[in-house]
């Protein structure tokens, strides 16, 4: 019997596909998410919109909060560690979370390095804004990628930008000739063997969800049509007028993403979406998607 293999780690992400992973900060919210059909929850002290509003250093959530949420729901529970903070990651592995998100939403702990995720039996999901970044994370052992939008804004524009970027770059690498792959690996700062994998298979070696700014059923439908394997919804649910209805509608829109009649039906009467912040109006220092090396 072998545990913690890459097949087992990446396999859980395969099972989450076509689903919605929701940020929750309490047992009550976790139950709402599970009841709405979330495939997993991300256990947090504060949702990204509130982390933004509070400022200061954002760290791993108190393990007690995470453990209470793990006890309350039967779906997999994820939790965030700071970029490069293997100490936090070790704690999360020790309490038995199902996935660790090495996340730019928290304040980075290392300015040059990410966690060596091969050291862990628990799988990791990491953010990426382009193919090079995604393949560097996979090279470090990430078993799942999430395309980074701008978390906590409710503005989907950067989720779209980076999903289009990654999918466009995959198409480009697939179309290159064999002798061009090393130069491309150098240019992207990506491991050569993973560039070869993308060239041969025309896809990432692991599942790719989209995250950051998705807050309506229509957002989820568009992101899925653009080629995401599933969606993370952070602030979009519990900053909306009616979290129960919004959560359920986003789950259904993710399943029926290519059926506008269903997406229209579930979009009706769910209340106002989160107010949010337009990313184009933000100052450079407030943008968090650039965290990650």
């Amino acid at each position: 019997m072998e545990k913690g293999t890459i097949k087992v780690k990446a396999g859980l992400a395969e099972m989450l596909k076509g689903g919605v992973i929701m940020d929750v900060t309490s047992v009550e919210q976790a139950k709402i998410a599970e009841e709405a059909g979330a495939v997993s929850v991300m256990a947090l002290e504060k949702i990204p919109a509130d982390i933004r509003a509070t400022g200061g250093v954002a760290r791993m959530t108190d393990p007690e909060i995470i453990l209470k949420i793990m006890d309350a729901v039967s779906i997999p529970v994820m939790a965030k560690a700071r970029i490069g903070h293997f100490g936090e990651a070790q704690i999360l592995e020790s309490i038995g979370v199902d996935y660790i998100d090495e996340s730019e939403v928290l304040t980075p702990a290392d300015e040059a390095n990410h966690v060596n995720k091969w050291d862990f039996k628990v799988p990791f999901v990491c953010g990426a804004t382009n193919l090079g970044e995604a393949l560097r994370r996979i090279g470090e052992g990430a078993a799942m990628i999430r395309t980074k939008g701008e978390a906590g804004t409710g503005d989907v524009v950067h989720a779209v930008r980076h999903l289009r970027t990654i999918i466009g770059e995959i198409k480009k690498v697939a179309a290159l000739s064999r002798e061009e792959l090393m130069a491309e690996a150098k240019k992207m700062g990506a491991p050569y063997d993973l560039i070869c994998y993308v060239h041969e298979n025309k896809k990432l070696p692991v599942v790719n969800f989209s995250a950051g700014g998705i807050s309506t059923p229509a957002d989820a439908s568009m992101i899925m049509q653009l080629g995401a394997d599933g969606v993370f919804v952070g602030s979009g649910i519990f900053k909306s007028e009616n979290p129960e209805k919004t959560a359920q509608a986003i789950v259904e829109a993710t399943t029926h993403y290519n059926n506008p009649d269903v997406v229209a039906k579930v979009s009706k009467g769910i209340g106002t979406a989160m107010v949010g912040i337009s990313v184009s109006s933000m100052e450079e220092k407030d943008i968090i998607q650039n965290r990650g090396w």
């Binding site: 019997m1 072998e2 545990k3 913690g4 293999t5 097949k7 087992v8 396999g11 859980l12 395969e14 099972m15 989450l16 596909k17 076509g18 689903g19 599970e34 059909g37 979330a38 495939v39 997993s40 793990m70 039967s74 779906i75 997999p76 592995e93 038995g96 979370v97 199902d98 996935y99 039996k121 628990v122 799988p123 789950v251 259904e252 993710t254 399943t255 029926h256 059926n259």
Partner: protein, 205 residues
């Protein structure tokens, strides 16, 4: 020859099943609404999150349609979450379509950290035992089976693959590896049951 195999595409790794039966030369069709079951010869219910799949099955009125599908004797194969959907009894839960006389328990092997790969002994043709690399992810367990259920594989004395007439369940994910023998077995079973049904129909005249 089998032509139309549906794969329930509400959530989970349905694409991996479509790929696996594709390698056997059969095209898989995404099923997201009950009406899409018309003309489908057999159905695969994939791995995924069972609470999510169960809620969407109910919400989109699949239960009666699947009952009719099963009553027609059409083959159904459920892996992991799919197995939970097909079982007669699920410990501590209200779901289960009841198409196979088995009691199963969700997440019975533990959390993700306890997910594992293991060689299991396949007994697909009653002739010989054969090794198969099985991937178990937050897997459910088959605790009990009825007398009409045939055991097709065990791992460490626990039943992990079983069949009753037209229904097969596995607690692991044959769709995640490159070994397509279990999908080939399912497709041959679809063909055999189809021939049997056709014969019975001729006799009925």
């Amino acid at each position: 020859m089998v032509k139309r195999i549906g794969v329930l595409a509400l959530q989970g790794d349905f694409r991996e099943h479509i790929k696996a039966i594709g390698k056997c030369g059969v095209k898989g069709i995404d099923i997201r609404l009950p009406a899409q079951l018309d003309g489908i010869e057999a159905l695969i219910i994939p791995g995924g999150e069972s609470t999510t799949i169960n809620k969407l099955l109910i919400k989109y009125n699949f239960i009666n349609a699947l009952d009719r599908f099963n009553d027609m004797g059409k083959p159904i194969f459920g892996t992991c979450a799919g197995m939970i959907m097909l079982a007669k009894k699920v410990v501590g839960e209200e779901f289960g379509l009841g198409f196979i006389d088995a009691t199963v328990q969700r997440n019975a092997y533990g959390r993700q950290i306890d997910s594992f790969e293991e060689y299991i002994d396949l007994k697909l043709n009653n002739l010989k035992k054969d090794k198969f690399k099985a991937i178990f992810i937050r897997a459910p367990k088959i605790l009990e089976i009825g007398e009409n259920v045939e055991v097709l594989a065990k791992a460490k004395n626990e039943i992990v693959l079983a069949r009753q007439e037209n229904v097969i369940i596995s607690s692991f994910h044959p769709e995640l590896g490159n070994d397509i023998r279990i999908h080939e077995y399912f497709l041959s079973m679809v063909n055999n049951l189809k021939k049997k049904r056709e014969k019975e129909n001729v006799r009925a005249f």
